[in-house]
Amino acid sequence: MSDAIRAETVYVGDEKIQAYQARPLDAWRDGALLPGVVVIHHLPGYDDATKEMVRRFAVNGYLAICPNLFWREAPGASPDDASAFVRGQGGIPDEQIIGDVRIAADALRALDGHNGKVGVIGYCSGGRQALLVATALPLDAAVDCYGAFALEPPPAASGLKMTSIKDRLGDLGCPVLGLFGDDDKNPAPAEVDRLAAILAEHGKQFERHSYEGAGHGFFATDRPGYRPQAAVDGWRRVFAFFDRHLGGKRLEV
């Protein structure tokens, strides 16, 4: 078996949405069926750091894809320009995000060697969006990495279109892993407590870990908020969770 991967920009769905896809090159030819993961990028956009995460999933035996959620508004723009442009327009409407993640998940399901399971993971604003799409799409596992404003909309001054997803949480269709920082103010630990309580009321499976000495964005290796201990343990938990719920297996050479 090979540990080679193929990583590239693809255009998916009838509307040819731009996405970054990475997958084991030929593991499936040996009869191994692989699970899929949709990676949701953070508010700073469809950037190099997010693409690195997509490749990381492929190296670990997953078919992975990250749709460029800003593609419709800013096709061809650099990630930072696209992010600023979208921010200035009030962000992306929730229903559009659900639609684009659906397209990305369907693209994974159409790949050779897919095992029929798809998970979703999102960071920062994408953490909230991972929860959002898991209430609306047939997914098998969701990971929320420090997503804010899941329960309450952002301040009106933000001008953003995102809304509370509190009333949708009863529709959550898969187990959720939540990874947070104790020092984060958005979401603060108290907000995560409320999220956990609401999910418990609905009888939803919510595995939660919060890291001491970590704030927002502790997975981001290119930012000062990176916390190696939290990130290393967080990745371990992400793969343990996805392996358990999606049937993932490491590539072996």
Binding site: S78, F85, G88, A148, P155, K185, N186
Partner: protein
């Protein structure tokens, strides 16, 4: 934390970006994670013309101290110049 809070203001003037000078019509001002400055959070300003697309943008990411010093410098420069000299309605 992500603040998501964005102040926007209509502006009139020009800025120089990678493709040269262009007229700017809007500024977005927010405190959030920078793309480039080596800090957790910065005061970010995007001078832009959304009508020309996402690339029509000049961005700065400043520390809080730098942003406040810049505000003071702008105030001082305007106060030191004859009143109305840089006004859109000033005679040229």
């Amino acid at each position: 934390m992500c603040t998501y809070d964005t102040e926007t203001v209509d502006i009139e003037g020009s800025a120089k970006g990678p493709a040269g000078w262009f007229a700017v019509t809007r500024a977005a001002v927010y405190v959030d994670h920078p793309h480039h400055a080596p800090f957790g959070h910065t005061l970010n300003i995007d001078f832009a013309d959304p009508a020309q697309g996402p690339a029509a943008r000049v961005a700065v990411e400043l520390t809080e101290e730098a942003a406040r010093a810049l505000m003071a410098a702008i105030e001082a420069a305007l106060d030191n110049a004859p009143a109305g000299l840089a006004s859109a309605s000033a005679a040229v």
